[in-house]
């Protein structure tokens, strides 16, 4: 009320208003002080709650559901820890994790694809969790392959969420229509059956050989089952494996467009009925089921009868990033929570992964016959960085260039492999 100058003196208003106005309001600011102190109290209590941010690239609704279930269970058991899932597209996950770490705002956990774990560990952003992991009962029971992908010497940089690999999916109806009773078991049978099932525009077999890691990934079962290695591409086993692919394409059993298909696109071909068989992993099971195709899953064909298939390992790992010790501790709690056998089985089933823990995987295989071929292959499955270590990405790049050159007819098998081997040798020299 003291503020209002009488209207009789309008001239005075402009000169006296602004500064005194605020000062006179000051005593009334007690309300402000109360509110701010309450807010401060609220904030401090809020800060005692730890947030664990997990970055991932899972998009399939089933996977998202699996993550949300785990989140609910965990937050229920640990009310002072909040889980936040942040989606980052597949191609960007690694670089984004590194960028976030570079500006000192790292996520708590990053779901890194297993061949990249050791490469990223070199940068020093990942926490060595060997001490905590040794206490997990499931760690001893983990397959050697997945374990190797996260272990560097004595240090452990992640815990596999689950594993996957490759097997042969086949369209039962198309096989019976062509008079084939069993899915092919050897390379020769594969060539024969694929040729029989090729009735344009339907192709006998679908592969994925694009200009990225997926090519090498799909090629590795053939290479390794034949005893070959990426580090020795000029040896006979490698040549035979690549020759198989070249023959399949030349005969028309595999579409030449496979050099542009990512695995999802390859899956589309099978689901649409444009391919009778495909080399694919368990993550596609959900979609294939939905399409209503009567299909079966068989182990990867081997070069000669009696040999065992050696498949590459896929699957992401929970990797803890170095940061606030409280967040690290909460992250480890989360990982331990997930590693409980029952929860692990449920999570892996929702994700259509094979668990990296033997006992759980065996249970999965028994419950679901389609997963059985994958489970059986887990014993001999190999982690990809075993060939090239932290340089695996570059080794893979050289290999897939050779693969693409050979199957598109740009170079002979020998020439393509020779140039790739030369590139890999220079890489090894740099080590």
């Amino acid at each position: 009320m003291r503020n209002d100058l009488p209207l009789k003196h309008p001239m005075r208003k402009p000169h006296t208003m602004p500064p005194n106005h605020l000062l006179r309001k000051f005593p009334r600011c007690w309300k402000f002080f109360v509110c701010s102190s309450v807010a401060a109290v609220c904030l401090t209590t809020a800060r005692s709650e730890t947030t664990v941010e997990i970055v991932h690239y899972f998009t399939v609704p089933g996977q998202i559901q699996g993550l949300e279930d785990i989140q609910k269970d965990f937050e229920g058991a640990n009310p002072d820890i909040k889980i936040k899932f942040t989606y980052i597209p597949f191609n960007e996950l690694l670089s984004r994790t590194m960028q976030m770490a570079a500006v000192h705002k790292p996520p708590a956990i990053s779901c890194i694809d297993n061949p990249d774990v050791r490469h990223v560990a070199k940068s020093g952003v990942l926490k060595d969790i060997s001490a905590s992991v040794a206490k997990f009962p499931t760690w001893q029971d983990t397959y050697p392959g997945p374990k190797a992908s996260v272990t560097e010497g004595t240090k452990v940089y992640g815990v596999p969420i689950g594993s996957n690999s490759l097997a042969l999916f086949y369209n039962k109806k198309m096989l019976t229509d062509a008079g084939v009773t069993d899915p092919p078991k050897t390379w020769d049978e594969l060539k024969e059956v694929a040729a029989k099932l090729t009735k344009p525009p339907v192709y006998g077999l679908a592969l994925s050989a694009p200009n990225d890691e997926q090519s090498t990934w799909q090629f590795e079962p053939f290479l390794w089952s034949n005893g070959g290695s990426l580090l020795d591409l000029t040896a006979a086993p490698a040549k035979e494996a690549l020759q198989l692919w070249v023959d399949l394409l030349k005969s028309g059993s595999v579409s030449k467009d496979c050099v542009n298909w990512s695995q999802p696109e390859e899956g589309d071909q099978f689901i649409g009925g444009q391919a009778a068989m495909m080399v694919m992993g368990p993550w596609m099971l959900g979609q294939v089921h939905k399409s209503g195709i009567d299909f079966g899953v068989a182990p990867m064909p081997v070069p000669k009868e009696g040999m065992k298939p050696v498949v590459p390992l896929g699957g992401e790992c929970w990797c803890v990033l170095k940061g606030d010790p409280k967040v690290e501790e909460a992250s480890l709690k989360f990982i331990e929570f997930v590693q409980d056998s029952a929860r692990l089985e449920k999570l892996c089933n929702t994700f259509n992964y094979i668990s990296s823990v033997r006992s759980v995987a065996v249970k999965q295989g028994q419950a679901n016959p389609e997963l059985q071929p994958f489970v059986l292959q887990m014993d001999t499955a190999r982690a990809r960085p075993e060939e090239g270590g932290a340089f695996y990405t570059e080794v893979s790049l050289a290999a897939r260039t050779a693969i693409q050159q050979a199957i598109t007819g740009q170079a002979t098998v020998d020439a393509a492999l020779a140039s790739a081997a030369a590139k890999i040798k220079t890489l090894a020299a740099k080590k």
Binding site: E92, P264, E265, D268, I271, S291
Partner: protein
Amino acid sequence: MRPPTFRSPWLYTVVGVIVTVILLSPLYWVLSGSLMTQRELFSPHFSLWPRELVYENWTNAVVRLWPHLATSAIVSVCTSALTLLVTAPAAYAIVWLKVRGRGAILSFMLTSQMLPAIVFVIPLFVVFSRMNIVNTLPGLILGDMTFTVPFALVMLGAYLREFPYQLVEAALVDGAGQWRAFFSIVLPVTITGMITVAIFSFLMPWGDLIFALSLITESGLQPLTLELYKARGALGIDWSFLLAGSLLTALPAVIFVVAASRYIVSGFTRGALH
């Protein structure tokens, strides 16, 4: 507009429609695909029209995209408005007022555009992190302006060259200030160019993916393009969402352009009366 050479303007319409249909023919695949199931999309039997129309693709896409419409709209409108605000006076000053350093500004702007977005985005992310505007809409707007402002400067500069400067000279002699002349003379005459640049400054953020990808991770703040990108998952491409969603994403932008293009026509008539 020219009065049509041929007697009936409808002849032009027919030719226009034919040309449009030919040029837009790839979109037919998108349209028919959006009404098919995923399985039919890849069936070996090539059909011109889906066997049964699957409307769920569209309803699902609408439900999924609707929350992000506001974000895209806000970002695009603000980017467009701010771009014009900052660039129109500058373009005018560079072309007609011959300010010193105009060559440097123009070259710098152009050179900045030559860097591929992916390389540009890393330092931008670092800067915005330190300014704490990552994962905020103002941050994304500023990020989008890094490509709309140079574009606007170059295009407005070109359109402004058509402007008759004598009009401003006359006004200056009469005692008007530079800004007054700008608002009352330059803007109305060059409104066509301004609107065109505004339209593109709206459309560019609308379709932007890379900046949104790097600067926004909060799911609630993601624009339409980012939500659509999720169709390309690591384990499968959600074609039903991708195809229907693409057409839905383009729709508001098309409506905006139809509305704004009427301005271009009317703006021109106003200018021509001079």
